[in-house]
């Protein structure tokens, strides 16, 4: 398993989130898991090219609302409605697109798919990779998780 695959996603977070108004963005934890555990809001983005796999972004619902609110110029988000879902989908698209640019700088060219966003109480998520790198991120105290599953990692 190649832990350096985490770096492009970290760089994407520290580049994109400040543009949306977050002042402090940091990695809190990095673990390896054999499955994706998620609650609230999960967005899956497919990757193909020199590496292949899936990234699942997970936001506890309250945190998804906070981030969506920030993205919509501080507008209050009391219900995680279509507008908020669209904002979070767009965020994950921006993050993964930026990560793909970072990957290309290291000579790995990848393409990314349209995000699929789901919500649910206790979400079971199965990606094709058998091992997943789980990055716990925090933006101004708001936690979210980036689950990176690269096919072939064991």
């Amino acid at each position: 398993m190649d832990v350096s695959n985490v770096n492009p996603f970290l760089q994407a977070c520290t580049l994109v989130l400040p543009q949306l108004g977050f002042s402090s963005v940091k990695k809190v934890n990095l673990t390896v898991s054999d499955k994706v555990n998620a609650q609230g809001v999960a967005v899956s983005v497919g990757i193909i090219g020199d590496i292949k796999g899936t990234v699942v972004y997970n936001f506890p619902e309250e945190n998804a609302k906070k981030i969506a609110s920030k993205m919509m110029m501080g507008m209050e988000v009391s219900v995680f409605d279509d507008m908020a879902q669209s904002a979070i989908s767009e965020l994950t698209n921006m993050l993964t697109a930026n990560a793909s640019i970072e990957f290309s700088k290291t000579g790995k060219n990848i393409n990314i798919s349209t995000p699929t966003l789901v919500t649910g109480k206790e979400l079971g998520i199965k990606v094709s990779a058998s091992k997943v790198l789980v990055v716990e991120m925090e933006a101004d105290g708001v936690k979210f998780y980036v689950n990176i599953g690269i096919d072939g990692d064991a």
Binding site: A42, S44, V45, G46, I47, I48, K52, G53, T54, V56, D82, M83, Q85, S86, S89, E90, N111, I112, S113, T114, P115, T116, L117, V118, T119, G120, K121, E122, L123, G124, I125, K126, V127, S128, A129, D151
Partner: protein, 288 residues
């Protein structure tokens, strides 16, 4: 070009301060059956002929004495914004292609112009809208056919379809599998069904009485991959530059699961199988 026009019908204008370049580009276009309706080598000429002809497509030189190509495009858009364009210049670097992208200019070709590159660039741009609309129009039938074929060959059972309103299928039935589609028009494919349906479906393949969520997830991933893969292969065969490829499937399951269709129009149809209802959802975007 609302709705898209055929390549041969597209009305093309060439702008270049060098009469030599204009003649060269015109010859390449005409040799390939394209329709040049206007040519201009200076600003006044460009404005007058553009206003008169309202072309669908412009090839624009970048460096010209009175006004540069970028400003020309901006100026012409104030007269009529409904045209597509490419820049043609001996200069090409990251700043220029960035600026060109920012202005939503559809392509960039470097001089000396290579005939193949020029013609392919123009054709792809003109076909883009048309192909996208055709894809939206035609893809559902292709996905349905692949779905039926996969069910038939794997389980020897039949499938019928019924329409359902989008709001009727807001919530997931329990298990959803999504596959990202990458290509000229990126999109996604998903299947949604209840645990009961998936259990019966899985059982019909494995013959086992009970399967774990994990096993069911493996099965439905592979099934979805076959359906999407066959459908995208068929679409790729129609030679419209779709270049579709699939990302790996993601399976979601849980209580009160919903699949968001907020960011992209999703086409949905319900397949009635012997195991229960399975929703087939597809969406495609215009890409960049």
């Amino acid at each position: 070009m609302p709705g898209g026009v055929n390549v041969k019908d597209a009305r093309i204008m060439i702008v270049d301060d060098s009469p030599f370049s204009v003649a060269l580009i015109e010859k390449m276009l005409q040799t390939n059956g394209l329709n040049v309706v206007a040519k201009a080598t200076n600003k006044t000429d460009m404005i007058n002929k553009f206003t008169e002809e309202k072309p669908d497509f412009i090839t624009m030189d970048l460096t010209m004495p009175e006004i540069n190509g970028f400003d020309s495009i901006k100026l012409l858009r104030t007269i009529d914004p409904n045209f597509k364009s490419i820049m043609i210049s001996s200069l090409k670097d990251e700043d220029l292609t960035e600026e060109s992208k920012k202005l939503k200019i559809n392509g960039y070709v470097q001089k000396p112009v290579k005939e193949d590159e020029l013609i392919n660039t123009i054709k792809n741009i003109i076909n883009f809208d048309k192909n996208y609309l055709e894809l939206l129009d035609e893809h559902q039938a292709v996905f349905q056919e692949s779905f039926v074929d996969a069910v038939n060959s794997m389980t020897r059972t039949r499938v019928s379809f019924k329409e359902k309103k989008e709001e009727e299928i807001k919530f997931s039935m329990g298990f959803a599998v999504a596959i990202g589609i990458i290509g000229t028009f990126p999109g996604r494919f998903f299947l949604d069904m209840s645990n009961k349906t998936l259990t019966a479906f899985t059982r019909s393949i494995t013959g086992e009485e009970s399967n774990s969520s994990e096993e069911k997830a493996h099965f439905i991933s592979e099934f979805a991959n076959i359906v999407a893969g066959n459908a995208c292969s068929l679409l790729n065969l129609t030679d419209k530059n779709y270049k579709f490829r699939l990302s790996s499937p993601t399976v979601f399951y849980g209580e009160e699961l919903t699949v968001s269709t907020a960011n992209l129009k999703t086409f949905m149809i319900v397949a009635e199988t012997e195991f229960g209802e399975i929703i087939i959802g597809t969406s495609f975007s215009r890409g960049e």
